[in-house]
Symmetry: C2
């Protein structure tokens, strides 16, 4: 057999690889990054630029693609590597979204603790991953230590519960509901959902996040088999109606995968009455899943933990650290009240991964628990800032932002041209701006005006807020998920809305 | 109504928040991180420590938890923040896995380009996310520009295909197969898998990754409804057997979700003959999904792109950038040959996210395409190093590591006490070490010996390799997925295996 020449890869190729992996370059570029990030955060902190750097999608796509072109000057420039790195980093920052500007109070995505991103960077630069313990021994330990702490803060009994981290609340809801499906329906994992008899249903809060419907589509339940529980006037699940529904479903012999409650629901941040709901579920022997993606972090606050009372009664719970624990996306926790359910979502083993010579080890192999096989060290950021600042920091941030939700509500009540659409339970507030000339306008005209107003406002870069539609009424919506935001910024928001509204001729709003 | 005091959050709490969000701290800690990472990579580069820092799971878990304890000295230490940060970072590195040590040649997880992690850090420190375009305008642009480049390198027709990035190959396979399910079965998304008639099946390569079976369990097909196509002697899918199977299934009227082929399969890195498979699928009108998580990057190499010839004929393709494009986990690409299929996996809309006042915008909203709703800017790392070094770097790394797979195979052939279990097509090589005293031992005794040997070897920190079981034969297995590994390291591996083997009394191996 002819011997392969070990030097087939050209000298030039080896030089390129050496440069890309050079420790000296890594050190030099990280130092440069320190200055770039320092300047950037000084600027966002002081609101000296725009919140959202709006550019039309085709323009951004064209530019991003130009850099990848083999003829791009970036790839052939005479400048040192570190200067080319700075150009790229600056472009990324100049065209991104400045969540750390205190005028960012939009989606349920936080102005994260910047230092959490540095701990994440340790994971990404060294590429720490999990699936089997031996690939990510410290990543595994960090995740488990956080599962333990947060699970106990929720109120689960030490030693009796289990948990995991996955890439976001949607996958978290899917994992929890997959467990519910497999436990509730028996052989669904092995035999599929193709069974005789009545179609199984998922019972969901009327305002539950679209990932619940998505999960029903994904895991073979079907979106049409999601039935909705009525909401009370505060848009919370009505436990009496739930009881009626479950009674009826049981009478008809309809298989029930689970009940999905919210803590809190997305549109206005309503927290369901969990103790009553848990009692109903228990009476009917139905799995209770609670989507606490947003509100779960209240377990770390003395002041607000009452909102999630009863969360410890759920069979499965989702709580996103990349929401109200203020770490970068994505780091979502899933908990099982009963530790025995931890392997039920994915009932399989991969013998080439899981070493029969170390049988006890499989319990530390995250790949058995999560939808991902290889998973990044997604909780380095949370572990790092928790270790550095202590649990108190999380409590501070929850209190600060939830408090400010109330303050903002009161500002809206006092302003004659604004109308809050609900009394907030947390940091989510939906409201309308109704200028004099639209006070008697048809609903649809006001709706169109508000859609246009928000779009113009965010594209101006002055503030970043989002929208919602509450029972047909178009709302402006804030999530005060930036601990740097103050009442001054909120007053500024009201002014910016008024000012933007004046640039829109009321008669000239778009029709859908 | 009593006015809420905006100063309810204590002065001390505000100080803690200020410190955590301080631009000056971020700058100072990032500079410190530059030195920590520089030293760390100099050390791993020169193999001056252990590859895997092995500690027993309970010990790591106990320690990780201690840092989180409210009484931890870390949270109350008198040292400056930057020094406490260094302690934590050092602990993380000292207990992690050193994939950048050239003796790491284990799982299909690369020694990633370290600078890619820095670009990812820009995303994590500033918390850039996607779902709707306006939340991550640049993240969206970067992802789309890479989808375009890589899709075209695979051979898809510009303008006719579509793609997305998700958190790993498992979710990628699930997304592709969910699309196949929804397209092949019609109303599965809405009605669920609970339908009359024969149970649908998934037709898979015999060695396909466990995520294919997992997907069947997740999306309601059922793991028992996965049927396996026979392998040829090189462990590639046999297109003739595939043709027989599809003919028979069609005759029986069994609904077929998809055929899953591999480029390449995990155990020995076998690439299926895609043109022949695509032809059979086309003849029977069956969706072809190709798991090219590992081998997809060959599209960037002139020397090895022949291995994936025909990939452009697949209906859906998964290619992981966090494997052979050498970026940190997780960054997996999914492609659809027919652009019209891009919204089929998740057939829904979330009206509060997708703005009816900007109808064209939804095509730029990644949340419509991926299992995640909020998604991190997962392709910043790939875009950054591609922009900095050009496409040639990826070709270099594929060539270097695939070449070395062949070199290693030839070393094994020449060594009297080693036996390769196959001729490699890429950088995955499975083999046995058979010392003289075990030459005539029963299969099970050799298997146990090799399991024990690998475990002892990796826990020593000398090398990191993995294992496989090929038709009942226990194998040692390497993936040369570290561009810093040379033939010297591979020779050293053979010696380390021999040396470790001598420490295990052949008669004293464990029994399962």
């Amino acid at each position: 057999m002819p011997r392969t020449d070990p030097n087939t890869t050209s000298i030039k190729a080896r030089q390129r690889i050496e440069q890309a992996f050079s420790p000296a370059s890594l050190r030099e570029l990280t130092h440069r990054l320190a200055d770039i990030l320092g300047r950037h955060f000084e600027s966002t902190r002081s609101s000296s630029g725009r919140v959202l750097n709006w550019n039309e999608p085709p323009e951004n796509c064209r530019l991003a693609s130009e850099y990848l072109d083999p003829t791009s000057p970036m790839q052939h420039g005479p400048e040192p590597l570190v200067d080319r790195f700075e150009k790229l980093a600056s472009e990324m920052l100049a065209r991104g979204h400045n969540l750390h500007d205190p005028r960012y109070i939009g989606h349920q995505v936080p102005a994260s603790v910047p230092l959490a991103g540095l701990f994440d960077a340790i994971g990404s630069v060294t590429n720490q991953v999990m699936a089997v313990y031996e690939m990510g021994p410290w990543a595994t330990a960090v995740e488990r230590s956080l599962v333990d702490r947060i699970g106990q803060a929720i109120g689960f009994e030490p030693g009796t519960f289990a948990g995991l981290v996955t890439h976001g609340g949607t996958l978290g809801n899917m994992t929890g509901l997959l467990t519910a499906r497999n436990v509730s329906l028996g052989a669904a994992w092995e035999s599929g959902m193709h069974t005789a008899g009545a179609a199984p249903v998922l019972v969901a809060q009327g305002d539950s996040h679209y990932s619940i419907l998505r999960t029903a589509g994904m895991i073979g339940i079907g979106t049409r088999n999601v039935v909705r529980v009525r909401l009370d006037r505060q848009r919370r699940m009505d436990p009496n109606h739930l009881n009626e529904m479950l009674t009826e479903l049981r009478l008809k012999g309809t298989p029930i995968v689970a009940v999905c409650a919210c803590a809190c629901a997305t549109p206005i941040g309503a927290f369901d009455p969990l103790p009553a709901i848990a009692e109903v579920c228990s009476r009917h022997d139905v799995w209770l899943h609670v989507d606490a993606a947003h509100g779960g972090a209240a377990c770390l606050s003395d002041k607000y933990r009452h909102l999630i009372a009863g969360l410890e009664l759920a069979d499965s719970v989702v709580a996103d650290a990349h929401k109200m624990m203020f770490v970068p996306a994505l780091c979502a926790f899933v908990f099982y009240r009963n530790r025995d359910h931890r392997f039920e979502a994915f009932r399989q083993d991969a013998p080439y991964l899981f070493d029969p010579s170390s049988p006890g080890m499989a319990d530390y192999d995250s790949g058995m628990l999560t939808p991902e096989c290889t998973k990044r060290a997604a909780s380095y950021g949370l572990w790092g800032i928790w270790s550095l600042f202590g649990q108190q920091l999380f409590s501070d941030m929850v209190d600060q932002t939830f408090d400010l939700g109330r303050v903002f509500y009161e500002m809206l009540v006092e302003a004659p041209d604004f109308e809050p659409l609900h009394e907030p339970q947390c940091n989510i507030v939906a409201f309308q701006y109704v200028p004099d000339e639209l006070r008697d306008a048809p609903v649809e005209q006001l709706n169109q005006f508000l859609l246009r107003l928000r779009r113009d406002l965010i594209r101006s870069g002055e503030y970043y807020i989002v929208q919602a539609n509450i029972d047909g009424r178009q709302a402006l919506r804030v999530t005060i998920i930036n601990p740097l935001t103050t009442t001054d910024h909120l007053n500024g928001l009201l002014d910016a809305i008024r000012w933007t509204g004046r640039t829109i001729p009321a008669s000239n709003v778009e029709r859908t």
